[in-house]
Every structure is written in C-alpha cells, then in structure tokens.
Symmetry: C2
Subunit: 416 residues, 2 copies
C-alpha cells in the first residue's frame, strides 16, 4: 500500500483561510495516496507568543533545565490547536480524519526538554489507523518522555516529526511543504542564476542544513538518512498536486544518476574567528582549550593549528558562531593561565563559504578550482577546512556575495 | 495529612500578572496545607477564541457529534497553557510544582465530547505526588475517554475537575476562587439587602446552580454531594489566606446548625411558556408531546396538565429555555397531527422565581407565605411547580425584580 506523509509549516496554517487551503491540498493528495498522514506546525506567531509567556512566568533569570519540562507543556499546545483544526476542516470536506498528539502517538523522546531527541516510535495503532483510510493529522514538534511528560523537539522540530512518522509508516514519500519551491544550488537572493536541484543526497543536504540553509531541520535529515525516507521539499503556494519533477527530492546518493562534482555553494555569516597566539606547545593543550569551550556550551567549528613559532610556542585558530563570541572570549580569558597563551585575537567580520558535493569523493582538483576562483577575485582565504564531501573557507565577510557568485560560476552551477 | 484543593477561574489567570498573583496565593496557602492541588481554567477569552476557530474550521452548519472530539482537542489546549504557566510561576518562587493534564491524571470521562461526564478518577500517581509535597497544577475542564481521546467537561467544567481532584485526594477542603465573595441569599444586583450565606447545603446549592446562579457548575455540586467534598466559594481579589468565616461553605446539611426555612430566592429570565390548547385527552398523548421535544434536545422544565375541557379535550402547559423556543415551536408544529391539538400559544415574556430551603421539609405554610407575598404585590402566578426543597412560580417577566424583593423580605432574608 502506498503511504505518503505531508508536512505543513507555521505560515501554511497561520489562520483559518490557510488551514482551509491546506485541507484542499490534503483532499487532492488523498486521491493518489493509499494511506495519508499530515504533520502540522503551530500557527506562525503562536509559538513565539507561548515562549514569551513561559519566559515571563518563569522569569528571565530562571530559564534553564529546571523549567524546561513546563516550558514544553505550554509551547506544545500550539500544534495541538492546528492538528484539531485541520482534522475539523478535513471532516468538513467529507473526509475521514483525526488528530494525533505526541502522547497519543507515543512518540518517545529523551527528557532533554525544549530540544528533545526522538528515541523510538513504533506507532502500531497509528499505522493501523492510517491503513484503514483515516487521514492522520499529527501535531508536530512534540513527543512524550519516559516519565509521561510532554517534550518538544526544538525549532524546526515538526520536520523531524514528519520524517519519524514517515519512517514508522515506511512511507514512499515525505513531502515537506514550505514557502520555497525546493533546494537551490545556492541562495537565489545572492545569485540570480541559482538553480533548483531536482535531487540532492542526504549527505549533501545534511551539510547544507548544518551550514545554515534553513529549509530543513538538521535532525530531520539525519533521521531520513538513517531510515532511508525519501523527503521532498515543495512550495505550498503552487498547485495542490505537485507537477512531476516539482520541488527537490532528498534521497539516497544511488538514486541520483547525473552526479555533479559540486551540488551547491553555501555560506554563513554567523562566524567569529579566534586566534590564540603563543600557546605553549605541549601535549594536551588543545584538550584544555576545547574542553573549556565545550563545557561552556560553545560550538567550535573549524580548527587550525598553525606552524610552531620559536621557543616551543604556537598559534591556534578556530571558529565559533558569532553569537557565542562574547561568551567564548570570557571563557578563554578566564582560562588564560590554565591554557598558557600570550594573546587572544577575536575577528567577528568573517564569513564561511563552502562547496558541497558527493562527487568530490571521486574527483581530484575540486579544491584547486575553489582556490583559483577566489584568488582570481582577490579574495584572501583565512582558514580552510575540509570533509569528505565539503570544502569550507573562512574569508572577510565583505567578500561573501562575491565569493559565492564566483564559486557558483566556477563549478558550472549557473542556470542557462 | 491535610490536603487542600484550590481552583482559579479564567479571569484569575487572564494574563501573566494575574497568574503571578495566583502563584502568591498558592504560596501562602502552601504553608497551611500538607498537600496542595491547584486547578486552573484557561485565560479568560482564550476558550472563546478556540471555540470560534473550531467552528470556523468545521463550518457553522456542520457542528454536532461528528466533530466534537476534535473540538475538544482544540479547546482543551487553553488549560494546558495556564497549567504550565502557573507551574513555572510557582517554581520561580522556589516551590516544587508540576502541571497535570487530563490524560496524565487519567481523569476518565465518557465520550460525550464537549460535555463529557467524569466516569472515574483513581489518580494513584497523582495522590502520591501531592503527598510528596509537590504542588499539583491541574489543567481543569479536561479528561480522557476510553479511546484515549481528549474530552472536555462543558462550560464551567473546571469546577467539576476541582471537585473530582478533591474527591480523589480525600481533601479536607475544595476552595473555588471566583470573582464573587460567596453565595448570596439572592442576586445582590436586585436586592441590596441580600446576605452572603456562611454555609449552604449541597441540595440547596444544586437547586440554586440549576436555577441559573452561575457560581458553580451543577455537576460539580452533584459530585461534591456524592463524595461529601466540602466546597468553599471565595473571592480571589481578597487576602491570600482567607479570613475565618470568609466565603460560603457548601457542605452536608448536618453541618448547618441554624437552618433557615428558606435559604435563598432565585430567578431565571431564560424561560418560555408553551400552551397546547385542545389536546385530545387519551392515554399516551403526554408521552408523544414530550418524547418529540426530548428527541429534539429541548429541555422541558415545569409541566401542568390543566383541567379538561368539553369533548374529551384538555390544555397542556409547559416551560422550556427561551433560547430553545423557536426550535420547540417548529417541533410542535411539525408534530401537530401526531399529537392532535387545536392551537399552540408561546409566551416568551415570562420568568421563573423560586424559593429554596431544606427547612421546607419540616415546615408547613412555606407555599402560603410565597403566594401571599406575591398576591400582596399584585403579581399573577401562571404556573406552579414544587420539589421537596423548592417552590417555583412562573410570572410575567416585568415583575421579576419586584417578586424577588418581596419574597426575600417575606422569608426574613433581608440583612439588618
């Protein structure tokens, strides 16, 4: 039996008119699908209101783990409302439908409230209900922990709910309806010639998602990859039934016939560069530095250990999110004696530009193309970091657009 | 161990400032109570908004049982929000507290969604938690049916939640905080000399509640009577810890030492009088009339079968809520042949005035006092109906205030 999962975000269910439009899409999709589950976010704006109330009740100073379980109780109510409303709108159209809340699904999570991870989802009753022809309207973003308390999956968590539901249903397709019509080779606001990708591999999407392309929550891509759930990113503002080839399919690498060496160019401006000058050169010093930062919750990204200077001292360069920069500086200044360094420099006017592609694995010269293209535009590379399917460079932030456009052209990604 | 239940309505938790005020009251009450449970309604206005959305999604025409389960999913979210917020506000004050939703309590109801009745509530985990010193913040108005679906208890249902929680806890007291400071001998807006009752019996409160005194939901009084839960009605706008003798205690008749013959005078303007003229006088005709009305959901109150006319025909008079009058008229006109009557008169400018008191059981002449007092003011009685502890009369609506004042004086209820 063909089973399909559809997911609609907060702007798609922002009011009764939009919910009616979603109900029309679901009704149209019902015809082609055997079993259908629909995952909804809260009305856009609702979650912010609920978060404000929770913070107001708890007090700004008192945020933290001791409050997160009740924060989740408050915030999860938004998706409860939209799931009920969409079920009503579907019944109005003569369809069989019912809502499912996190605890009714028994979508089990850990107890890291506010940012819980899905631990398991069997959903036997749920699968049976979907197979009976009843449309399941699932409240996204929420689950239940081992103690029977409400949990939420963090911002964008409804994407992850949708993939978890698709995995439990062994769905043929998980369609994520958003306000963009797919995943692009790069940000179309910067590169007019950016192209929509028909397909992208899980691995590439994961790199894109974690690099700040806000189309899908990173965890949803991880979960889709682990369970081999085909995920399609679609616009909710086009026709009810997607045209063939619409959107972008996130799928297994094997399903992509024409592999590009580089599939996309991503960038992030939320970067800060830290340079520790004259660090004592002895074993364990890196463990001390990055241990202190990890304990303080600072997420370190690129790390470069520069060539040793005289007198057994060296420089260590790393990047972290710019929003964490003041906090990271405090941590490092406090630990100055423990680490043993001469000077600390923090540059906040930097950006990270990356090229991503599974084709890199089998192609030489990908890095060379990148460096030549940047050099031709006179862009200086401050830090380089690579993974199997990604090359990232740190540059002066003012060159971001120039670099992205140059790389998009250099790798032959420009639309005709 | 002394266990106490506090209940706060929608105006008491209407915003963060009011919730903070409630948290202060709870903190003050915590000191005197061993175990404490607090039941909350939704923020005032929220429930109306949610109801509007649910009706908008389902369509006005399509209300009814086929939609009520999802209506409940939507509407129950309001109490989820306030229970989480109050738990946060209590923790901010350094108190141990957690929220409990209907399904977490396992407050079992029937599946009459939108107006469900509580079927059972054991709450072993809940009682254990309260006894451990953790303040239980209970989302009122909601339960869960046998199918694991969310149910709601109807308007005012949070009162019933509070009494059910108090029964499960075998609480010493269930304090209902409202916007009035107790139950009065009659409506103080009509009779300036109305007095607050220190105590009232369950039976009397039940008559008052069903007669339209909107202090407590009728079912909450029934439940309190069945489980012998002492319920106190208090103002939430006075001191945090109630002064001795504050509010009105609803309790067992045996606990009331000085019994008045009549405890209160109630009235209702939501009345319509139906007169069926020339009804065929044969067995079973009343069953046909009131069967048709019951099937149509019309709640018939007073019934009088007037003296038989000639030719084997009679008149039948009854009352029903005025809001149901157009519908009831349609039902009766449609069933005209089936019933067999000559004419139908509907009077909508009528009101019901009642005197209530457990003392009536042992006192003669109570009705005589009523009829004399009304007669002295020139008020004509259209219909009379009595129960063991109540006498009701139907009069011209324009005499309502005059009648209430006259009866309040006649039974010696006026304050000094």
């Amino acid at each position: 039996m063909k089973r399909t999962v559809l997911k609609f975000g907060g702007t798609s269910v922002a009011n009764l008119e939009r919910i009616a439009r979603v109900a029309d899409i679901v009704a149209a999709r019902q015809a082609e699908a055997g079993g259908l589950a629909v995952v909804v976010s809260a009305m856009s704006g609702t979650t912010n209101q609920l978060v404000d109330w929770a913070r107001g009740a708890a007090g700004e100073d008192l945020r933290g783990e001791a409050f997160d379980d009740e924060y989740d109780v408050v915030v999860a109510s938004g998706e409860q409302v939209t799931s009920g409303l969409l079920a009503l709108a579907l019944r109005r159209r003569g369809l069989k439908a019912r809502s499912w809340l996190g605890w009714q699904l028994a979508l089990k999570t850990d107890d890291a409230h506010g940012k819980a991870r899905i631990m398991g989802f069997e959903g036997e009753d749920f699968v049976r209900s979907v197979d009976s022809g009843e449309i399941a309207v699932v409240a996204g973003f929420q689950g239940v922990d081992d103690y029977g308390r409400v949990s939420t999956l963090g911002r964008g968590g409804s994407d992850t709910s949708a993939v978890a539901v698709a995995a439990a249903l062994k769905a043929d397709l998980c369609d994520i309806y958003t306000d963009v019509d797919g995943v692009y080779t790069t940000d179309p606001r910067i590169v007019a010639k950016a192209r929509r990708l028909e397909k992208i591999s899980y691995e590439e999407m994961l790199e894109l998602a974690s690099l700040g392309a806000k189309v899908l929550q990173t965890r949803s891509v991880e979960l889709a990859m682990n369970h081999r759930v085909p995920v399609r990113v679609l616009s909710s503002f086009e026709g009810a039934v997607p045209a063939p080839g619409a959107g972008t399919l996130v799928c297994d690498e094997d399903q992509i016939v024409e592999k590009q060496v580089v599939s996309g160019v991503a960038y992030s401006r939320d970067e800060a560069k830290f340079t520790l000058i004259g660090v004592e050169d002895h074993p364990g010093v890196a463990a001390v530095i990055f241990g202190e930062l990890a304990d303080a919750g600072v997420n370190v990204d690129m790390i470069v250990q520069a060539s040793a200077k005289s007198e057994g001292r060296q420089n260590i360069v790393f990047t972290a999110p710019d929003r964490d920069a003041p906090h990271a500086r405090q941590v490092l200044e406090k630990a100055r004696e423990k680490i043993g360094y001469e000077n600390l420099l923090v540059a906040r006017d930097v950006a990270k530009v990356s090229v991503i592609g599974v084709g890199m694995r089998s192609h030489a010269g990908v890095a060379k193309t990148m460096f030549e293209a940047l050099s031709a535009k006179g862009i200086n590379i401050q830090v380089i970091s690579t993974s199997e399917i990604k090359i990232s460079v740190l540059i002066d932030a003012s060159y971001t657009e120039l670099a992205v456009r140059a790389l998009h052209t250099a790798y032959g990604l420009d639309a005709d």
